[in-house]
């Protein structure tokens, strides 16, 4: 962009600015990566080695720490719980969100604007303010401490509605009208005309909400009490607490955290661009 100008700068200034740039990027990315690196190094140590701050690298990598977490702990079960619950929740959220977004964009009705304002206003409120009454509702429905309760209280994503609405508005209205002329129902117009054209919005919606549901902690931890229905964050937290009660084995704690974190990092490595679309795209709204 401003290459013409940079050429005018003296060589020393240019070298200095490159050094500065490398330094800033180096320090911040080391700061960012460090907890991950330290977690992996710590999980491969023995129980005594991990407590010794002078040993940076494990003398002999203790892979058994990982196998212990994978085969002798509840962590894999919690991960499975989080995985399938998140998939079910996101699938429902996509259907409800797409239908509402379709109505907002393509169905002309009188309360259209009011409805959008209501959705918008809901988005602005702190979700925690709903927790006490929502808890009571689930208690009355006998759904506390169950997967059903977690799922049924998260069937709508307001972020997703915004994201899809934004995508749908880019589609020429004529296309939907043409499909309607050909005899397609609104239902078919949504899934066979609109959806394929806004595939990237749907993928972004799915991935971002999958991750946030998978990681979700506060609400699921308030409504569940038995280990069988813990999602991964609460499960990890409870293992950690149980561990701190006795003589804590930090290597094992780090191994548990790593088993939870690493698959997410791998998933993220392959899907990064969809997240960037979701955050930096036209919507500018966070989930």
């Amino acid at each position: 962009m401003n290459t013409r100008y940079s050429d005018k700068r003296s060589l020393s200034v240019r070298i200095l600015s490159i050094i500065g740039k490398v330094l800033i990027l180096g320090v911040t990315s080391m700061f960012t990566a460090f907890p991950f690196v330290w977690m992996v190094l710590s999980m491969l140590k023995t129980k005594t080695e991990v407590m010794n701050p002078n040993s940076f690298f494990p003398a002999v990598p203790q892979w058994s720490n990982i196998t212990k977490v994978l085969f002798d702990s509840n962590i894999p079960k919690y991960m499975w719980n989080s995985t399938w619950v998140s998939i079910v929740i996101v699938a429902i959220q996509i259907v409800t969100g797409a239908m509402l977004a379709y109505a907002l964009v393509f169905l002309k009705f009188r309360t259209n604007k009011i409805l959008f304002t209501i959705v918008m206003a809901t988005y602005m409120l702190p979700v925690a303010a709903t927790y006490i009454p929502s808890y009571i509702i689930l208690a009355n429905w006998n759904m506390l401490d169950s997967f059903r309760g977690i799922i049924i209280s998260s069937t709508v994503s307001i972020f997703g509605i915004f994201l899809l609405r934004q995508g749908f508005m880019q589609i020429p209205k004529g296309l939907v009208e043409a499909a309607r002329m050909d005899g397609a129902t609104h239902w078919r117009a949504l899934w066979e005309v609109v959806c394929p054209m806004t595939k990237s919005s749907f993928i972004t919606f799915g991935l971002m909400n999958f991750i946030s549901t998978y990681n979700n902690y506060m609400w699921p931890s308030l409504i569940t009490k038995t280990k069988d229905v813990y999602l991964v964050s609460q499960g990890l937290r409870s293992e950690f607490l149980a561990n701190t009660a006795v003589n804590i084995d930090w290597a094992l704690v780090m191994a548990s955290s790593a088993v939870v974190i690493v698959p997410l990092l791998v998933l993220f490595a392959f899907t990064q661009k969809w997240f960037i679309n979701g955050i930096g795209g036209e919507t500018g709204i966070k989930g």
Binding site: L125, I132, S257, I276
Partner: protein, 300 residues
Amino acid sequence: MSTKKVKRKYKKRYDKLPTVLFFVLPALIPLIVFWIYPISRSIWLSFTNWDFMTPNYKIVGLRNYINLFKDIRFYEALTNTLIFTLGTLFPTIIIGLILALLLVKNFRGNGILKFILFSPWITPTVAISIVWTWIFKVDGGIANKILQLVGMAPYSWIDKSSSAMFSVILVTVWKSLGYAMIFYLSALEKVPGELYEAGALDGASSWRQFFDITLPSISPTTFFLTIITMVNSLQAYDQIQVLTQGGPAGSTKTLLYMYYQLGFQEFNMGKATAVAVVMIIITATLSLIQFKVGEKWVYY
């Protein structure tokens, strides 16, 4: 008007109704049950003395609010929330912008750096806060080891009330840097190149270009990020729950954490919902400002 005409008009107005309802209700019903009703119910409960255990309760008017506003812990939580919010906001926005400025031009390794810087945002806060607890450990933790290596005195991190808030802020900034960076990257890419060309022709220095062209062009993003970071800070829970549980001595207890303790540990629902209403008012005010100011800006 004849009745026929009225009927036809009626029909025209309502024959779309089933379709509209079919498309709207699957989202609207849960939205009402788990968002709109609970919010209004919270506001209602804040005027009662309900204790969760007994089914009966009395309307006590403003008593919960009066008690709250007399409670020194409320002001401590309010101050903590403010410190936490501002302490997170400035580093996130400033470092996020610097990173975006350095990464906006493509170079070798650019992609991997973006990946590293953005990765904390998708990791579960609980899991990574456990890792930070381990890093922060006063004896045997790596953070103090590093301080020792560079010749600095050991720090108390999450062990003392004087340093716990700083540690929680550090973790939160660590987690949100990449998010701010991604936002700024997409804003910077949208600044028209001609602006810089014109600036260069006028002989503007890099600094002048930054302050006269870049900064004004991305100001809507800065504004949006400011609001969203503040709203998120107000709702931070996971890292506080794992790192400090609001302690030591209440030094990291924010409004949300106070709400959680009042509601789900002490079952003082009246007072808890009064805190919730305070949070609703703060968030709604911030969002309204965002909405009103945002309207004036042209996003491109």
